[in-house]
């Protein structure tokens, strides 16, 4: 039975809902679990063999790439098949700056140089992505996907072949910064940047910027009617995506210590799209987990001793070969069966950690219980309450008037 506007307005007075808050023990439990998760990741990074730490850096870099792609794929709602272009350009720029302009040698590279290189790389990524954003103002959907493809193709076949950038094809070196050069130290450096990216992404969604971008995705006409500058926010979304991609590019350059065009190709770009899909479009935690999974997968296989022997000795296949098959298979499964991806599967846990009661379903999705009907004598009292609660807001007067108007119309209607 659909309620009509009149019925809802006149006769219904819901009991005021208080925001549920966990008890002290609840908070302690949540903090413990959170600490356990972070603690184990950090402990693992500090204590596993070096080649593992190296892979963990890559996982963090992939996570940043995933978050970058997630802005375009999940928040804006367009497919980018050329992200390897942004990451690659940034990587080459960072390496070029560090080696050719700032004097890094094979043995040493100052931390300041590394930071500057990362900033420049982030800006290059932002500019490269902004160009795409401007095109995205006019073209959308499948055809925009084709343009992103073209973008990446030009980057791969032309920009990444420019001799002075690629050092004549030998690759542009990028020595790891002093003090952060070992695999373990570099992994922690990557974590630092990942945390920063996650923070900005969190602020994005919790502020008017994220709301604006999501509104635009749903309907540009409605968003504009809410006073949102659609053009500016669309471009801003791409710029932000490019910034993240640029950071990832710089980290990648210093991780590999030598940037070649082979590092960034069409297959990578497609795989990155898949990892965001598997993670769950628009879901930050899911995307981080999904990206890390794609990066770590072969190593995870290696953890299972018998499996490793089976693969290497019986099948004569490297575990690395299986990443693409498993990853794309998961992607197909996600698209057809589990559209929310990993993010949706872990949602009960993340919601609990965020301070909500543990439940398998998100808040507000239980069918709306019909609020109890009461005489609305309390509405006037409500008006008084609001005047004292809110600071300066001249709309309060109007809303009070609205309340009185509603009250007044009820008196006029014959009962």
């Amino acid at each position: 039975m659909t309620a009509t506007a009149t019925e809802v307005l006149e006769t219904v007075r819901a009991e005021p809902t208080e925001r549920w808050s966990p008890s002290v023990q609840g908070w302690v439990a949540r903090l413990l679990v959170l600490g356990l998760i972070f603690g184990s990741v950090l402990w693992a990074t500090a204590n596993v063999p070096s080649y593992w730490a190296d892979r963990i850096s890559l996982a963090a870099i992939y996570a940043i790439i995933g978050l970058s792609l997630n802005i375009v794929l999940g928040y804006v709602g367009q497919v980018s098949l050329g992200h390897h272009g942004f990451v690659g350009i940034a990587a080459f720029v960072a390496a070029y700056y560090a080696t050719q302009k700032a004097g890094c040698t094979v043995d040493t590279c100052s931390f300041n140089t590394f930071m500057t290189a990362t900033v420049i790389a982030a800006l290059s990524g932002a500019v490269a992505a902004m160009l795409l954003g401007l095109i995205a103002l006019r073209i959308r959907g499948l055809y925009l996907a084709l343009i992103t493809l073209a973008y990446g193709f030009v980057a791969e076949r032309s920009i990444f072949e420019i001799p002075f950038l690629t050092n004549g094809g030998a690759g542009m070196p990028a020595t790891r910064p002093d003090g952060w050069a070992t695999d373990r130290e570099f992994a922690f450096l990557c974590f630092f940047f990942l945390a920063g990216v996650i923070f900005v992404d969190w602020r994005l969604l919790k502020s008017k910027v994220g709301r604006a971008i999501l509104s635009i995705k749903h309907s540009e006409a409605v968003a504009a009617t809410y006073g949102i500058n659609v053009t500016a926010y669309k471009v801003l979304a791409f710029v932000l995506s490019g910034l993240f991609a640029g950071i990832a590019g710089s980290l990648f350059a210093f991780h590999e210590t030598n940037v070649v065009s082979n590092n960034f190709n069409f297959a990578n770009a497609l795989l990155w799209v898949l990892m965001v899909v598997v993670g769950g479009l628009g879901n930050r935690i899911g995307v981080v987990i999904g990206s890390a999974f794609f990066a770590l997968f072969p190593f995870l296989l290696l953890l299972i001793g018998p499996l490793e022997h089976f693969l290497r000795d019986t099948l004569h296949r490297e575990p690395d070969y299986f990443t693409i098959v498993i990853g794309s298979g998961l992607a197909i499964l996600t698209l057809i069966q589990y559209p929310g991806g990993i993010g949706e599967q872990v949602a009960p846990i993340t919601r609990w950690l965020g301070g909500k009661p543990f439940s398998m379903h998100p808040e507000g999705h239980e069918k709306h219980k019909a609020p109890k009907k009461q005489r609305s004598g309390g509405l006037l009292a409500k008006v008084g309450l609001h005047k004292s609660q809110v600071s300066t807001e001249n709309n309060t007067e109007e809303l009070a008037a609205l309340g009185r108007a509603v009250e007044g119309s009820k008196e006029d209607d014959s009962e």
């Binding site: 420019i162 069409f266 497609l270 898949l274 899909v277 070969y321 498993i326 992607a331 698209l335």
Partner: protein, 339 residues
Amino acid sequence: MKTAIVVGITAALLGLILILGAGDDAGPNAAVVIGVMTGSIYGLVAVGLVLVYKGSRVFNFAQGEFGTVAAFIVFILVEQIDTNIPYWAAVPIGLLGAVGLGLLMERVVVRPLMNAPRITLLVATISFALFTIGMEIILFLPEAKVLRPMIAATDATGKPNGPNIFGYFVEPQNLIAFGVLILLAVVLGYFFSKTDLGLAVLATSQDAFATRVVGIGVERMSRFIWGLAALLGGIAGIIYVPISGTLTPGAMTTGVLIPAFAAAVLGGMTSLPGAFLGGIVIGCVQSLSNWAGFNYSLTIGGVVKPLSSIIPGLPDVAIILVLLFILLARPQGLLGSEA
């Protein structure tokens, strides 16, 4: 009518270049010949893309892999297994494999997502393409193999087996490519305009609901379209891989798919003859800009540098410029009917 005009103009332009450059060894003639040959391959793949777009309104990113899979099957039968299967017998088996892959894709990915947003289906085709490539890596290892052409390029003494056209020794495989293209253009043209099944396919692509009302099975149509597209992709792969020289996992996707997309868009995503034409044009754009890159130079800072070193990857950049131009200026392409 419009088709005839556009084809005529294109042929005339190409003919002009050939005539003007005749006799000059450094002229663009060889480039045009090469362009038409490689363009035939792009056209073959592009036709499959257009077919799928007309049927499912999506860009099929797995179109290239139909070809790679077919080439792998032929490779196994002809080069690896000691079964003495002649090449001409291995080809149909390879094509069968490609069609099987296409039908599998239709069942597993396309049908469940028939009512999903087209972007979702696009990502699904990408996933399937990568899945196929991943399987190729596992089955055949990420190394380069060589599949020999149907008719060897040179005979035992090293003398070329193919004709010399305008200064370029055309390999027999290239002639096969061009010949197959013409043949398919005629066959498909007849099929889609004169046969009931062909007309039904076109009708389905216009309006799925209406065709269902009339009684044409939309699911069977979908299977047919994807099977046919896979067949075309398979043909393209078996012809192209020997020309390209290496058979690796994902060969068609990395080598041919993007120019094929450009060809399809240029011809008009809804026009089958446009795809053929677009292929030829893109092939010529690629080879002519390659030729121009070596033939023309700029003097920068006192040093004379050929264009090809100033702009790396010039032929590919040229293809992309054409694609961008079409998408921004005339999205319906040369012969297409919708933007």
